[in-house]
């Protein structure tokens, strides 16, 4: 990902920990342009509405309601703003909630600086970003249900299952592969990998697969 060739993405940080915000700002300040910060749902909606950034780095846990509240409020007026969810807890209910609310990706707070900058750039470009944990989660949630008793089909049955290629891609993400490594491993282009991931994201957001919710409720990401 050559970030140098493009204009820097404009980013708003939303996190209730001031220390974390300043840390992230210091770390990725050169790879992205941090235009604003907010520490809660209300201020975040304000700042984002005013600045209309490319990407919002959004903590899943905010005191005045979850991150999904911010997404829901902003999506109405500024559908072009993209969200990258960031969480320390990995509680699947929260993660699945922000993803389904419309976040383009999810990473853990332990992510390295370069990976974070990379992820922000990717989201700014309209691609999806899955951490290895989220990939494992999606695989698990979409796992073939042998009995099939709990599956309430969506209008579009294609939304309810992953193609074998998508599963392969997710499996490699879960093993910590980068997109570039995945492309090499599967003999496909990085662009194809990205499109697979985006399609998984779409399924994740749109599928009414009953198991998805149940899975999130029952299981905790580690």
């Amino acid at each position: 990902m050559s970030t140098e060739a493009r204009t820097l993405p404009r980013v708003v940080l939303v996190d209730d920990h001031g220390l974390f915000r300043s840390g992230v700002r210091a770390e990725i300040g050169r790879q992205v342009e941090v235009v604003g910060e907010a520490d809660d749902v209300g201020p975040a909606i304000d700042v984002i509405g005013r600045l209309v950034p490319d990407v919002v780095l959004l903590d899943v846990h905010l005191p005045g309601g979850g991150g999904q509240a911010v997404i829901a409020a902003v999506k109405r007026d500024h559908p072009e703003v993209r969200f990258l969810a960031l969480s320390a807890s990995d509680a699947p209910e929260d993660v699945i909630a922000v993803i389904r609310a419309g976040a383009r990706g999810y990473v853990t707070k332990t992510i390295s600086t370069s990976d974070l900058a990379d992820a922000i750039q990717r989201v700014a470009d309209g691609d999806a970003v899955f951490s290895h944990r989220l990939a494992g989660f999606v695989l698990d949630a979409f796992a073939a249900s042998p009995s099939g008793q709990d599956v309430k089909p969506s209008f579009d049955p294609e939304l309810d299952q992953l193609t074998s290629r998508e599963r392969e891609v997710l499996r490699l993400i879960a093993q910590g592969y980068t997109y570039k490594e995945i492309a090499r491993e599967l003999y496909i282009s990085v662009k194809t990998v990205e499109s697979h991931v985006s399609s998984v994201l779409r399924k994740l957001q749109l599928s009414s697969r009953h198991q998805l919710t149940r899975w999130a409720a029952e299981r905790r990401l580690t």
Binding site: G136, A143, P146, R171, A174, G176, R220, T222
Partner: protein, 470 residues
């Protein structure tokens, strides 16, 4: 008592008459003189009490809540006159039997009128401002009167003999209940519980009235039925009477019982919350604070700090988000086994292991072998690859279980590894093939390594999978 006004004085006089007619106890001689006078002087007791009080033990008569069965009156009288409270109590009971229950209202009146030890005023001084309490007392007394009237019309001898005296008892009880200090109320709860539903009513006044009316009607009808059924031959009538009486009691006491049950639940919840809080704080102390202390002491050793922080993070995570304690017990499911590998390798080799698991299933022999091979592969990577982090991926599928151990370390040429090198050869290859699994090693110098272990699932464990998959 001197300063407490006529009410206080009355009480000690009322107290006295119940005692002298008692059987010839050891105390009788001392007691008899004023008892006798009291007994005789009853019609005009209002004028007399002051004279005897000076003969007391110096202390004014006070109820003793410390040593009480009900209101502490007997204990107070005992202390006042120098008897053992038990003696006084026996006298009370015997007199109650002889006097057809008259001691009970007298006792309650004393309770109402004698101040408790250390208290400034008696209960009556509060009760007389409690208009609702008085109204209730009168209402209850009236209710009882009506019942007794009904009973006497029906010619029930026992009720006629013992019932009427308790009309003031009920009224006194209500007043005491509503106006006693908190500490006394707590202890009284056992004695007067049923009346609380009437006196302390949480419901509206109208609801209370309706309930009372219904209950009285049911009770009256029921008692009437029961009492007249002596002459009746029909066996069903006593039954109907019993049902009516039961219904009346339920209507009367149901809300009280419900409230007790609810209080119990609330109390249990509060206790659970308190325990949880204690658990959290002890957890934070035992693990987080200890780790922070360790980190401060190892401030000059970044490797150690990362390791400590990592271990603590993992422990906290598994406690917070998986609701389980991080014990060293044997794993019973595949994912637990994978977590154990993560823990052990991180602890022993100081290299973070990122795990992602998909699905889960119970362990069997084959899967134990797979775990052992996976552990060996992870340890190898931690020891030799020099990678910053090792990724351990495990997926349980219907037909097979796969474990992939991957690092971005220096890598090696799989073909160049001598076949006698034990780690890869025996521990991994040998183990997997013995159990019908397979091993794939992908690596090149400078490109990291990936060891993929695949174990087919036995029929039994595959069958159990449906339920175990989360």
């Amino acid at each position: 008592m001197a300063g407490k006004g006529p009410a206080g004085d009355d009480s000690c006089v009322q107290q006295e008459p119940s005692q002298p007619p008692g059987p010839p106890f050891r105390v009788r001689d001392r007691h008899a003189w004023h008892g006798e006078r009291d007994w005789q002087g009853r019609p005009d007791w209002r004028g007399r009490p002051r004279r005897w009080r000076r003969r007391g033990n110096g202390e004014p008569l006070r109820r003793d809540p410390e040593d009480r069965l009900a209101g502490g009156v007997a204990a107070g009288v005992g202390a006042w006159r120098g008897f053992s409270p038990t003696t006084v109590r026996i006298v009370f009971v015997v007199v109650a039997l002889i006097s057809q229950g008259w001691t009970i209202p007298v006792y309650l009146a004393c309770w109402l009128l004698i101040p408790a030890k250390g208290a400034q005023a008696n209960i009556w001084s509060r009760a007389r401002h409690d208009s609702r309490g008085i109204a209730l007392a009168v209402a209850l007394g009236t209710v009882l009167l009506v019942l007794l009237g009904l009973a006497s019309v029906l010619n029930a001898g026992l009720i006629n003999t013992y019932g009427w005296q308790q009309v003031p008892s009920v009224a006194f009880l209500v007043l005491i209940w509503r106006n006693a200090p908190d500490s006394e109320q707590e202890a009284m709860r056992h004695l007067v519980e049923p009346l609380e539903s009437l006196g302390g009513g949480q419901g509206t006044r109208r609801g209370l009235g309706i309930r009372l009316a219904v209950a009285v009607a049911l009770l009256a009808a029921g008692f009437g039925w029961l009492l007249t059924s002596h002459e009746s031959i029909a066996l069903l009538r006593p039954l109907a009477g019993l049902i009516l009486v039961t219904a009346g009691i339920v209507v009367l006491l149901g809300p009280w019982w419900l409230r007790i049950a609810r209080d119990l639940v609330l109390e249990r919840q509060a206790r659970a919350r308190a325990e949880e809080r204690a658990d959290i704080s002890s957890r934070v102390h035992d693990s987080v604070l200890q780790t922070l202390a360790l980190i401060q002491r190892h401030a000059d050793d970044p490797q150690q700090i990362v390791q400590l922080a990592r271990a603590q993070e993992r422990e906290l995570r598994s406690w917070l988000f998986e609701g389980r304690t991080l014990g060293d017990g044997d794993a019973t499911t595949f994912v637990e086994g994978i977590r154990q590998i993560q823990r052990d390798v991180e602890a022993r080799h100081g290299v973070p292991v990122e795990i992602v698991t998909v699905g889960d299933c119970p362990l069997d022999d084959d899967l134990n072998a797979l775990l052992a091979a996976g552990r060996e592969a992870t340890v190898n990577a931690a020891k030799w690859s020099g990678a910053r982090v090792i990724s351990l991926y495990a997926e349980v599928e219907p037909e097979q279980v796969e474990v992939a151990v991957r690092d971005r370390g220096k890598g090696f040429d799989p073909d160049a590894v001598p076949s006698d090198r034990k780690g890869l050869a025996e521990s991994i290859h040998g183990r997997m093939t013995r159990h019908g699994g397979s091993v794939t090693v992908q690596s090149a110098v400078g490109e990291g390594a990936k060891v993929t272990l695949t174990m087919p699932r036995s029929a039994a464990s595959a069958e159990a999978k449906g339920g175990s998959r989360r």
